[in-house]
Symmetry: C2
Subunit: 449 residues, 2 copies
């Protein structure tokens, strides 16, 4: 939404010109109306919300922040609340209930019809991040012997309540999924054809317990608009629509960004997360990595004599460890992302290793050469020191890239999340390795022991 | 696709049992058939491809790797090639042509009809990563005075060639976009209604030069299936469908992962990228960061005397710089991702800074406390050393988080990509700052100067 429009709406609300405001809002997209309502004070919000037409009100309600939803629920009558709950799509109801406080949830449940209440309870039971937890109950189901004409009559009658009307599912008397037919196919067929002749019996479906990430991958692989969700007996219980899959993709990518930066994934957007939650998400890995840093320090301690004799050695440590860390995290990032997109499998272990070794030879040689030139200029005559730094650089890059490339795959083999093998952990491992290499080369070449 | 199915298909191709193979393939999804064809040798691939029905062949063709597409183009007649080009959606044609070698492109263009050729040339001209570069030309357009009945007749007649038939666009005689109407609304309306009464004149549209990332954000914000693309005079020239938006989202997230790990974004998946390309993408930032590492080394050199007197000081460097780098990259990652998802704006500068300062106080105090206990046990009596490390740790975490939180926003203010302010650059900056703090505290408290 444009900034100017938002400003204009705010002014109208300020001036209490609800008539003009109502007119403006009625032409707007529900997402934008919700964005505007979320910005208002709770009192104004409920006044403006009440000016919306009933149909727009439900659409807007499902797009509001949970806080705004709660304010509205607390300000409307039981009857109005019941209407909203019946009109919302099941996935929006469940999303909302999962975040509302217990007393508000209780009131919502009391005002739902027995059927809806039963459905809500069933949906709330699906495990977090499963297909069941993101699906909705509103879909169009047809029978095999329905004709195209009957199918259209059915769609016309029920379409207002359905989340996706363009994909219809064919089920038998026991609700077992038998096939899928699109409105496109129905439109292109004569009225007297039976659905059975048109339907595709090879349906791409998922079970309620399937991981939501797998569901999102299916959408992206097969370019789908809807995926049916079945129970263990292949009975159709819900559908996941592409907009929910898009949300899952963004959420999973965000989680990977967070994990790869050594944080526990957060539930809410940054600005809405409290300081204590943010601190809690960050402290765990910082602590682990700080302790690893202590071990690296202990390694350094073993070479105290070497740098007591030649303090200059210390000044190359940041360059070596930084480059090692960066080289390693480049590799690990590509592999982790490749595995997240199913482009790289655990079976590619040796292909990845071989590729990383060759890349690291190229990159390492280039960086070593630049160092060589620089050191020969700044420390002329000190050839052995120069050789120490150059060899350490080459070895560090090779080890960093090999380790960065294969550790995420190793993690996957042991059913751990490859993302935990990202930058911070690789950096810590490579730090320790590069220091050992550096000082061992130094002790040998510079005869420090 | 299941592993066993792939194995079975491979065996059938091996045994040249093309009849059974054809039967199996005819029941499969085009994405899976393409996956199977991509695995075959070029000779087998063309034989199997020729067994497919004409309709399935085109669908499969658009899902193949560019290498496979090229093999097939080189093995078919001009007439067959012409048929394929006419049947493909324009976005698939353009994607393919952008990757084919010039001589193959020439042959494809020669076998397209003049109209298609003109359209292809027009589409190839849109800038990379623009809405124009991902849109397709196949959409359904209606006129204001068309009735619902006429609209359905039009859809039935043309739907086979259209990418998305569920969103219809209303244009005037000059092709200017006037409104949008969905098949759902048409289905729910009486046959005699005019499209004008049903259409929504407030269409969410983009211009051909709009950044593809902005287009993808609109899909995710408004839960759309299609967005119309217009030229500067608001004439409808194409549509972007949600499957393309999904691809853009994955591609943009991958680019951010790469940039945040200090790499130039790659064009192709990891396993298909050559060793030289990989090395080229990585060397630039490694070089920049290595040189920054040299500067950090130069800072250390200023304190050579201090650690010559007390070599023990050196052993705390890895812990301090690692923790600083990790603390900073946690913050920068959250802010960069938040800005990519439009959850954080540049106007949130002070909110972010204030939040990061409070989080860093909590986290820094916890880490400092743990260090204090550890140091008092391992280095009893050395209270001043202990205090030096503890104070440096606290200061490092605070500075790291403040810098990590605000630098991505600063980058955005100067119209630079916030992602370049990610882990590696923050680490380098924080490294230098934390060393300066550490040694200054050490010099003061331990009287080393």
């Amino acid at each position: 939404m444009k900034q100017e429009l938002m400003k204009l709406l705010m002014e109208l609300a300020e001036k209490r010109d609800y008539r003009t405001l109502k007119e403006k809002l009625s032409e707007m997209n529900e997402v934008d109306v919700a964005e505007f309502l979320d910005e208002l004070t709770p009192e104004k919000r409920i006044v403006v919300y009440r000016t919306l037409s009933k149909e727009q009100a439900t659409e807007v309600f499902s797009c509001l922040d949970v806080e705004s939803q709660q304010h509205i629920i607390n300000s409307i009558t039981d009857w109005e609340l019941g209407e909203i709950v019946e009109d919302l799509f099941m996935d929006d109801v469940v999303d909302m209930l999962e975040e509302l406080p217990a007393n508000v949830v209780k009131r919502v449940m009391q005002n739902a019809t027995p059927d809806t209440r039963k459905l809500i309870n069933q949906f709330l039971k699906y495990p977090e991040n499963s297909a069941g937890s993101i699906m909705t109950a509103e879909f169009i189901d047809l029978k095999k012997h329905t004709t195209v004409e009957q199918a259209f009559a059915h769609i016309r009658k029920t379409a207002m309540d359905k989340e996706d009307i363009y994909t219809c599912f064919v089920t038998d008397a026991n609700r077992v999924l038998e096939g899928v037919v699109t409105v496109r196919e129905l439109l292109l067929s004569p009225y007297e054809s039976a659905v059975e002749e048109l339907m595709d019996p090879n349906v791409i479906s998922v079970t309620t317990t399937e991981d939501q990430e797998v569901v999102a991958d299916l959408f992206s692989k097969y370019d789908l608009l809807t995926i049916p969700v079945v129970d263990t007996e292949n009975r159709l219980v819900g559908i996941v629509t592409v907009d929910d899959a898009v949300e899952v993709m963004e959420q999973e990518a965000t989680e990977d960004f967070e994990k790869m930066a050594a944080m526990a994934p957060s539930e809410k957007p940054y600005l809405k997360t409290g300081v204590f939650s943010l601190a809690k998400n960050r402290i765990g890995w910082l602590l682990v990595l700080m302790i690893s840093g202590m071990f690296t320090g202990a390694i350094l301690q073993r070479y105290e004599e070497a740098f007591a004799v030649m303090p200059l050695l210390v000044t190359f440590i940041p360059m070596l460890t930084d480059t090692g860390g960066n080289a390693g995290s480049q590799s690990s990032t590509l592999i982790i992302r490749g595995m997240a997109l199913s482009e790289i499998q655990t079976g590619d272990f040796f292909r990845v290793l071989w590729k990383e070794v060759r890349v690291s030879l190229l990159v390492g040689a280039a960086l070593a050469l630049i160092n060589f030139v620089r050191l020969m200029i700044f420390y002329p005559g000190n050839f052995m020191l120069c050789l120490t730094v150059v060899l350490s650089m080459l070895a560090t890059v090779i080890i960093a890239k090999a380790v960065g490339g294969i550790l995420p795959i190793v993690a996957k083999v042991f059913h751990a999340d490859p993302a935990i093998m990202a930058a911070p952990l690789i950096t810590t491992i490579v730090d320790a390795l590069s220091l050992v290499i550096y000082f061992n080369i130094a002790v040998q070449l510079l005869h420090l022991a």
